[in-house]
């Protein structure tokens, strides 16, 4: 056990390389991700998802993130899907009017050509959804995401919703995640060195072994939080009111092009899905 959580958990990690995708306006990226997801929900089969899949590949290449690293993040997803997809294939319901090609049938279970295609379609859809979110996180810093979110949530200010405070809270919470992960690794290593085996025993026994790790983790996190409060006060933080921002966001021609590409591919998929149902 090498205990490098951050090595295998790629979700939510920002990869600090400057690619064309990194340089887009965060708002563009958030809207594009939303468009891709909406379009993915409108696809109906392998043909309609194909343009979105192609788009995912183009985006992946444009980010210049090593494909191996991206795939590492899919491990957990694939494992989960390996569990669910067979169910979908086995319980596949014939669509009225479509002729089914069965390889094997028993009671309500079956393996059919259509069922397998359906399974692959579901998997592709999940990949497209996951990839869009994953790419957004890979290529956008927390600060960009939160600034983008703050601007997009601006209308809520009229409803007296404390947008800045909300976004600041989220940002700081997320900032603590890598620190806490490092801390968790450190505490677990210390426990392992004292002879604890986290990989042995029943679920309950394993959970109990986490207590000695979680207690100091929380104690340390709370003391950090206390200092952070003092530090933010000392740096004159008084909430969003009267606060200005150094950063501005400019959509440029690049953002327009990116939007057009996403709309073209996504729209094509959605159109095929809606009109032809394939």
């Amino acid at each position: 056990m090498s205990l490098e959580f951050s090595r295998n958990v790629t979700f939510g990690q920002y990869i600090d390389i400057r690619s064309a995708v990194h340089n887009l306006d965060p708002r563009t990226k958030m809207i594009c991700a939303a468009v891709i997801m909406a379009c993915a929900f409108m696809t109906r089969g392998l043909i309609s998802i194909a343009p979105l899949f192609a788009l995912a590949i183009i985006v992946q290449l444009a980010t210049r993130i090593p494909i191996g690293y991206t795939l590492r993040g899919y491990r957990l997803l694939f494992r989960t899907m390996l569990f669910f997809v067979p169910f979908q294939v086995l319980f596949y319901q014939a669509i009225p009017g479509v002729e089914m090609h069965y390889y094997w049938r028993w009671w309500i279970l079956s393996v059919s050509y259509e069922g397998i295609l359906g399974g692959i379609f579901t998997l592709s859809r999940v990949i497209v959804l996951y990839h869009s979110i994953n790419t957004l996180m890979f290529t956008t810093t927390m600060m960009d995401l939160s600034d983008g979110a703050e601007i997009m949530m601006d209308p809520l200010k009229k409803l007296k919703f404390p947008v800045n405070e909300f976004v600041m809270t989220m940002t700081i919470a997320l900032k603590f995640v890598p620190l806490l992960i490092t801390e968790l690794e450190r505490l677990m290593r210390a426990q392992i060195a004292r002879g604890v085996r986290f990989d042995q025993g029943s679920v309950i026994a394993r959970t109990r072994k986490l207590v000695p790790v979680l207690i100091p983790l929380f104690v340390n996190a709370l003391s950090r939080a206390e200092i952070l409060i003092v530090a933010m006060n000392a740096r004159c933080y008084r909430g969003g009111e009267g606060r200005t921002k150094r950063r501005t966001m400019h959509a440029t021609a690049r953002d327009v092009i990116a939007g057009v590409i996403v709309l073209l591919f996504g729209g094509l998929g959605a159109y095929i899905g809606r009109t032809m149902g394939i």
Binding site: E4, R7, R243
Partner: protein, 588 residues
């Protein structure tokens, strides 16, 4: 200009359990002054810093900064004028990117965008951070993070910057960089800097030293004034720098040099013009402290071990690149090296916590990563006290935490109890007094002892201590070093002491292994290694103050040996060369 008049501060003010942390402080700090604030724990220096930065409101008395008196209403004005930098930069950084964090303060002040941009760029440039402006803070080194934290405070254009014990937790080279920065801030930005520290040698070239004791100002003057009064300093648990003490002793031996001597360079410059006897290179004066020539059976053998962190990701970084060394049974070894030398990675590999990508580690001749090897049994045999082990305590009471290992191994209660009692006694904590104490109510030094007792309770054959005294104040360091010295002598253990300094801990070792950039670059007794003090210095290893003084003296005194461990040896070596009337030198 900062002016404090009859300033008091009570924790739990007005209650029965009130603690009077400041008892009527009167001070004036001029613009552009570089001030050291010294004092042992509980002297009130950190409280003073927090009141100055308007984080705490004074209980009585007055704080005035550039004409503004501190009240609830003016707190934000004062906070803008007096910046506070904390011990651990991670605690005060708010944003993810360098440039965004530096902009945080000015944004809070509501400055126009263009002004913020200009100011942030100027600060980045002046602190040498421009190249890192868009970097993720999580990817920076500790020293860089501290620089960012300071930049963030400077961006508010404060009149005064308070550094609250910033050097306690970091390695000496980083501490030196930070101090250089403090000087630059005064010189280039015209801010006054108040540096709080426990370490005397850091502040010898400051403008002014303020010593706090019991909530009052105890001494206030230039380093020359303050360090001449060594006896008074000792009364309040502080000391003069080692070189100052040496200078006074030399004077006593009839070598006339101006007092006080504050730096090794001053000592060198004072000695060089004096008449000198050339006696050639001498051997160390204590022939008896040759290491015991024990023949050791090898217990741990490390052969060409390579380890890369986050391998196969864009964040990969090399920890070990071909480390090879052996540890003998019953041997006491110092594992030394600067930051990033690979020491911590190596000890984690020894315990099977990290699996090298290449190379072998054998314990008692058996490869520990071989199939079927009982790694659990290995971890029972090798106990590691990690850095800052006190942050890893988890049980409610001391007794429970220390008994964790005996309980886990399923030992009967009487035996477990006996082990806990024995281990607590070994770390200098009385069993009856501390058994039921709450862990979180102990002092930092006591917690660290409890953590060490917890590792001893697993009754290991090999004990590894990773920078056991780091982050403690000088008094805590000395106490813990003495404790470890006793432990290594009394117990028949194989001990590996990991550190970045040739200090009193390293001196306990029979042999030292020096690491640099993931490899073992030198091995031998400390004296052998110290012969090449310049090499050790060059790879970022911190010399003891004694060896460092000797190294500086050798720059002009060619026959000056550097393989000295104790300041008394150094004194005798100098007296041999420069003493006038003394017949024989005595060996302390």
């Amino acid at each position: 200009m900062i002016q404090l008049t009859d300033l008091t501060y009570d924790y739990n003010a007005g209650r029965d359990d009130a603690i009077h942390a400041l008892k009527g402080v009167n001070l004036t700090i001029k613009p552009g002054e570089l001030v050291a604030l010294l004092g042992h724990n509980g002297s009130g220096k950190s409280t003073l810093a927090k009141v100055l930065a308007a984080v705490y409101m004074p209980t009585s008395g007055r704080v005035e900064v550039n004409g503004v008196t501190l009240t609830e209403d003016s707190a934000y004005d004062i906070r803008r004028q007096v910046g506070l930098v904390f011990q651990r930069p991670d605690d005060q950084l708010v944003a993810n990117r360098v440039i965004d964090d530096i902009a945080f303060g000015p944004e809070n002040l509501g400055m126009p965008r263009e002004q913020i941009e200009a100011r942030v760029q100027a600060i980045l440039a002046s602190l040498g951070l421009s190249a890192l402006a868009n970097s993720q803070i999580s990817s920076l080194s500790g020293g860089e993070r501290q620089r960012v934290a300071i930049a963030g405070v400077l961006a508010m254009q404060p009149a005064c910057l308070i550094l609250d014990e910033p050097t306690t937790m970091i390695a000496p080279p980083l501490a030196r960089n930070l101090l250089r920065l403090a000087h630059e801030l005064r010189d280039n930005h015209g801010v006054s800097v108040i540096h709080i520290t426990h370490f005397m040698h850091e502040v010898v070239d400051f403008d002014r030293i303020i010593v706090m004791d019991g909530g009052n100002v105890f001494m206030d003057g230039t380093p020359q004034d303050v360090f001449l009064r060594a006896n008074e300093l000792r009364q309040v648990g502080l000391d003069v720098p080692l070189v100052t003490r040496l200078g006074a002793q030399l004077m006593h031996h009839g070598i006339t040099i101006p007092q006080p001597v504050l730096t090794p360079n001053q000592l060198r410059d004072a000695l060089v013009p004096l008449p000198r006897q050339d006696i050639g290179v001498t051997r160390p004066l204590q022939p008896t402290d040759q290491p015991p020539q024990r023949t050791h059976d090898t217990i741990i053998a490390i052969d060409n071990v390579h380890f890369t962190y986050m391998q196969g990701t864009p964040m990969a970084s090399v920890g070990l690149s071909g480390a090879t060394c052996q540890i003998g049974k019953g041997e006491i070894v110092a594992l030394l090296g600067g930051t990033q030398a690979g020491k911590s990675t190596l000890i984690e590999c020894i315990n099977g916590l990290r699996k090298p990508q290449h190379g072998t580690i054998t314990v008692d001749g058996k490869e520990i990563f071989a199939k079927g090897y009982d790694i659990g049994a290995l971890r029972d045999r090798i106990g590691i006290v990690f850095q800052q082990p006190e942050t890893q305590l988890f049980e409610e009471t001391v007794g429970k935490d220390v008994s964790f290992s005996p309980r886990r191994r399923g030992l009967p209660p009487e035996q477990s109890r006996a082990i806990v009692e024995e281990c607590l006694t070994a770390v200098g904590l009385d069993y009856q007094t501390f058994r039921l104490r709450y862990v979180y109510a102990l002092s930092g030094g006591q917690k660290r002892r409890v953590a060490i007792a917890g590792v001893l309770a697993s009754q290991p054959e090999v004990l590894i201590l990773d920078e056991p005294v780091a982050g403690l104040d000088p008094r805590g360091r000395t106490e813990l070093a003495n404790l470890i010295a006793r432990l290594t002598k009394e117990r028949n253990l194989t001990v590996i002491l990991v550190g970045n300094t040739i200090d009193e801990l390293a001196e306990l070792a029979d042999r030292a292994i020096v690491m640099h950039e993931g490899r073992v670059v030198d091995q031998g007794t400390l004296r052998e290694l110290l012969n090449d003090a310049d090499m050790l210095h060059g790879i970022g290893l911190e010399l003891s103050e004694t060896a460092e003084i000797a190294r500086v003296l050798r720059q002009h005194i060619s026959d000056m040996p550097t393989n000295l461990l104790h300041v008394d040896e150094l004194r005798d070596v100098i007296v041999q060369r420069y003493g006038t009337t003394q017949g024989g030198t005595h060996v302390a």
